[in-house]
Amino acid sequence: MNATTPQESAQITDAKKRYSAGVLKYKQMGYWMPDYQPKDTDTICLFRITPQDGVDPEEAAAAVAGESSTATWTVVWTDRLTACDSYRAKAYRVEPVPGTPGQYFAWVAYDLILFEEGSIANMTASLIGNVFSFKPLKAARLEDMRIPVAYIKTFKGPPTGLVVERERLEKYGRPLLGATTKPKLGLSGRNYGRVIYEGLKGGLDFMKDDENINSQPFMHWRDRFLYVMDGVNKASAATGEVKGSYLNITGATMEDMYERAEFAKELGSIVVMVDLVIGWTAIQSMANWCRKNDMLMHMHRAGHGTYTRQKNHGVSFRVIAKWLRLAGCDHLHTGTAVGKLEGDPLTVQGYYNVCRDSYTKQDLPRGLFFDMDWADTKKVMPVASGGIHAGQMHQLLDLFGDDVILQFGGGTIGHPQGIQAGAVANRVALEAMVKARNEGKDIKVEGPEILKTAAKQCGPLKAALDTWGDISFNYASTDTSDYAVTPNAA
């Protein structure tokens, strides 16, 4: 053990010493290189680390680099059979997190050779593998990453992308509208299809299965698909619009999911849905299937809150969104900022940018630490869903713009005059707000007045505003950007 030698903080360059049997500090092994200039083809990760008491932050950063690439706990001579310098990840910068004692931002660079082409599973097995259980760290969080063009181009990305989705739907220049069928559990196929028909005929573009609707005793998946597609097609004929309902094909096995997807296709559905919990490999397989079958793929981020919500440990959702855009989904739940679920508005806008940008610019208040060129990867349509209602239309349009699906589940189905009236209220509120914005009105300020005026000619909107006008969910967010006094975090 060399822990007390004078060299302990520096990389050992003498090969004989470096590879003699025993235990070295990660810094000594070459995982800390403060002079390293990342290459354009490197993947760069920004970790937030909380070292155990007494562990030097640079050594902790080097340990992260080591444990997420080539290192093991002791020196191995077999390193010398390889070009090990290029396989080692390099921690090259460490800074205290502003205002958060004990936590540090650590920048780590990874050579292009380290990750298999087009495999999120392989990349994540390194980046969030062993390292997140590593004892010298109390906690670690992958805050953001810069994925290089060279690696991005090995992924096919979204099966459809938001531009082509709009062309297939023939719907432009406004957010799309959706609703999740409620109650989540217990409806028979026949009762379920009723909700679909009413919502779509009333004016929504999409209806949606909930994340935990698969094939339970109260409703077999085939029953659901058959009744839902009858509702979808009836509504399409009643309105002259293309309509869809996200059929959740999540199942126990890939074989189950393929079977459900094929049935959805046979019935003429334009969209299928999976839950994030199916895993990266299954996601990429289903994206391939969707690409082959002209199908939109809706992604519900079920489960993400277990690792994205706490600031000190896990993976930021902006990173998950980057991975999902590469793995390939067309819709992604990205938060509402104003609804019932976690989300600081700026942080949430950062997720939206990751889904829709051609080139993501560094934007510290929004939690985006890196410039990143998406190299023409198709764009993901973000979905705002959870505890939002027509009375917030001006805020939602102002925060998220046109390329978003606004989902009003309770806000449609819970309308006092019925589901169709709920849908009408949302559609009228949306169209009135888009029109007013385009006319140059400051919707952030004039929004409530614009809604009130629109409601004069629309009873259902008036009833919606009377019911929910003042409802909001004002709790402090647990995940906000700690950018305030961060020096230039390139």
Binding site: L226, S236, E241, V424, V434, K435
Partner: protein, 144 residues
Amino acid sequence: MMTNPTGRLTQGQFSFLPDLSDAEITAQIAYGLAKGYAWSVEYTDDPHPRNSYWEMYGMPMFDLRDAAGVLAELNDCRKAFPGHYIRLMAFDSTRGVESVAMSFIVNRPAKEPGFGLVRQEIDGRRMRYTVHSYATDQPEGERY
């Protein structure tokens, strides 16, 4: 008569609102021009939801940057096809978009009979669906 809450075809950005006046249409055109879009006037008597290709009333007006000029084109089209559906479409040529950015209906036939749903029962409980426009039972030009 269509039975959805508006009683009419609901394609486009503003079908749930009262018909836009010429002044309101001009404001939307000006918004699109400020964004750099090119406007186009299209008409049809076949408004099937999957009929992407309405007839072009001339080419997209790439070089016309004046909202009043676009409105004049629309009014010419209205004169020529008073009983057709007419829509204004804005094209965005930005790399990564290169598609339609806005689309809304600005003229409708007096009566909108809408669509029927044809169900073809096939094996098991499966169904093939066809959305059928009542109007297209008549030849082109004699539908509304």
